[in-house]
């Protein structure tokens, strides 16, 4: 079983196509939409948590790649600028998934990007603006 958080970028020729439903019907994958929008120049962006049997998951990804969807792991898109973070800890109050937590010993803030769902609530809540989004 594979479960990954991925960012899909759709070229504008695909934005009116029912693509995610194919992943469900043909490859028996489960999905959870974390974010979806159509940006300027009509490129579509979809952040999904995608889950399924290894073989089916890979076939699903192959399908997406074949039709022209660009795929990237989510963790590459929300980053912490470590030079700016002061480890104050206020971000943990807005993070809904526990991706930002305070170490009980060192009192430093850890960012577990595998838990991040890119909700972006931490971006304006961080006083020194250390959390950055790179979609």
């Amino acid at each position: 079983m594979i479960s990954k958080r991925i960012v899909l970028r759709f070229p504008n020729r695909l934005i009116d196509q029912p693509i995610v439903c194919k992943l469900v019907k043909d490859y028996d994958l489960e999905f959870n939409i974390l974010k979806a929008y159509i940006a300027q120049r009509e490129e579509g962006l979809l952040v999904l948590e995608l889950k399924g049997q290894d073989e089916e998951y890979n076939k699903g990804i192959d399908y997406l790649t074949r039709i022209g969807v660009r795929i990237q792991l989510l963790s590459q898109d929300i980053v912490r600028n470590n030079a700016k973070c002061t480890h104050c800890g206020i971000c943990i109050s807005v993070c809904p998934t526990g991706a930002l937590v305070i170490d009980s010993i060192t009192r430093k803030v850890h960012f577990y990007d595998n838990k991040c769902i890119a909700c972006e609530l931490c971006i304006p809540a961080c006083p020194p603006r250390a959390m950055e989004v790179h979609f």
């Binding site: 480890h87 104050c88 305070i102």
Partner: protein, 403 residues
């Protein structure tokens, strides 16, 4: 046997002073007892790193040719207005000031990405800052307009002068209303969704000298990565605030006005910060050494998180609208706050800090190194801060309608 600051300084000069942080002294006193700790330890260092809105800098930019008198005119640093109601080329920039065209809270909640605090951070970092000014012109100062880059290394004086820093204890902010609110204590979720606190607890300077026995006017301190001094009691200094038996206030109490040469400070200890929906500010690093003169002082400095209590305050209704708490929400220890949750009204509420404890440790450790290596000597206070006996208290504004 009591020690004097002169004796401690002699030991520092010889590299023989025993210096520990306010965290380390807790265990030392527990292990060795108050008497031995007072004999063996010479200095306890404290630290805090949090947003401190009453902060700012003054600069003398040097005279232009032909001369210009900014006093009575207007001036801006990177578009952020600075105060110039002084002599010709002295200006003061407060950290919460915003550029005239900043949208503020017009699009709610505002982002406050760039304000006076950010200008200060960039200026300290050695970046060029754009100064623009207009003046009315006089016979001796004929010029009316000035646009130039300025740099910290070229100006005559650059001084950090903060009218209120280092609050002795602070509120724990919660929200009893049913709306999400954006405050200087961070985002507060409705119906007690979270609780935010701000303070270094057992490392915080004024909590380790709760009755201002050693910290006074003239005390030499770590300020913004450089050396500064306590200039005066801070604004809203409230020494008569409620205290526990250990002398430690259980509500916001004393404050300090501090001053220091900005030219030797560092941008990592003066950070421009933005509070969503609230404003821009400066996050300041301050560390104060406490000379261990006797057993009483070492006992105060050994205070620990379990013994320091902060009041829980509702920022939904109580704080903005009333003088006295309408609902007594109680108090909670820093030890409890640091566990990540508190209990209130039968509900478990997650907590989060606004002031950085890791940075507070770093400040206390840095100050410790400075003193151990002999490059930082302690000063005798030239005057005491008003203490509980002064009767000094914090007043609300008495509004008198203008007919």
């Amino acid at each position: 046997m009591a020690k004097t600051i002169t004796e401690i300084n002699e030991k520092i000069k010889k590299g023989q002073a025993v210096v520990v942080t306010a965290e380390e002294i807790v265990d030392i006193v527990e292990e060795k007892g108050v008497k031995r700790a007072a004999q063996e330890v010479d200095v306890v260092t404290t630290g805090t790193f949090g947003p401190m809105c009453s902060s700012g800098i003054y600069i003398n930019i040097g005279h232009a040719k032909p001369r210009i008198k900014l006093g009575g005119g207007k001036c801006y640093l990177n578009e952020v207005p600075a105060y110039c109601g002084f002599a010709a080329v002295d200006i003061y920039l407060g950290c919460t000031h915003l550029s005239d065209d900043d949208p503020r809270n017009k699009v709610y909640p505002g982002e406050f990405k760039y304000g006076g605090g950010h200008v200060i951070e960039e200026f300290v970092a050695g970046k060029d800052i754009r100064l623009t000014a207009i003046a009315y012109g006089t016979d001796c100062y004929p010029r009316r307009k000035l646009e130039t880059w300025i740099n910290i290394k070229d100006v005559n004086e650059a001084v950090l002068f903060n009218p209120r820093n280092v609050y002795q204890n602070y509120n724990v902010a919660v929200n009893l209303s049913d709306k999400l609110i954006y405050t200087y204590m961070g985002v507060l979720k409705p119906n007690l969704g979270n609780a935010n606190y701000c303070g270094a607890g057992q490392l915080s300077p004024l909590l380790n000298d709760p009755l201002y026995k050693t910290i006074g006017i003239g005390t030499k301190i770590f300020l913004g990565g450089g050396v500064g001094y306590v200039a005066w009691q801070g604004t809203q200094h409230n020494p008569t605030a409620k205290r526990k038996d250990n002398g430690v206030p259980c509500v916001p109490a004393g404050t300090l006005a501090v001053i220091g040469d900005l030219k030797q400070m560092r941008p990592e200890w003066l950070v421009g910060t933005s509070f969503q929906g609230y404003g821009a500010t400066l996050t300041v690093g301050v560390g104060i050494p406490i000379p261990i003169l006797d057993e009483e002082i070492v006992r105060y400095s050994a205070v620990k998180d379990e013994e320091i209590f902060a009041p829980i305050v509702d920022y939904g209704k109580q704080y903005p609208y009333s003088e006295k708490p309408q609902v007594e929400l109680g108090e909670v220890s820093y030890a409890q706050l640091k566990t990540g949750k508190i209990k209130l009204h039968g509900k478990e509420i997650p907590t989060a800090p606004l002031s950085s404890y890791p940075k507070a440790i770093e400040i206390a450790e840095t100050l410790k190194d400075w003193i151990k290596s002999g490059r930082f000597l302690l000063t005798e206070a030239v005057a005491s801060l008003p203490g509980p006996e002064s009767g000094l208290t914090f007043k609300f504004l008495k509004e008198r309608p203008i007919e």
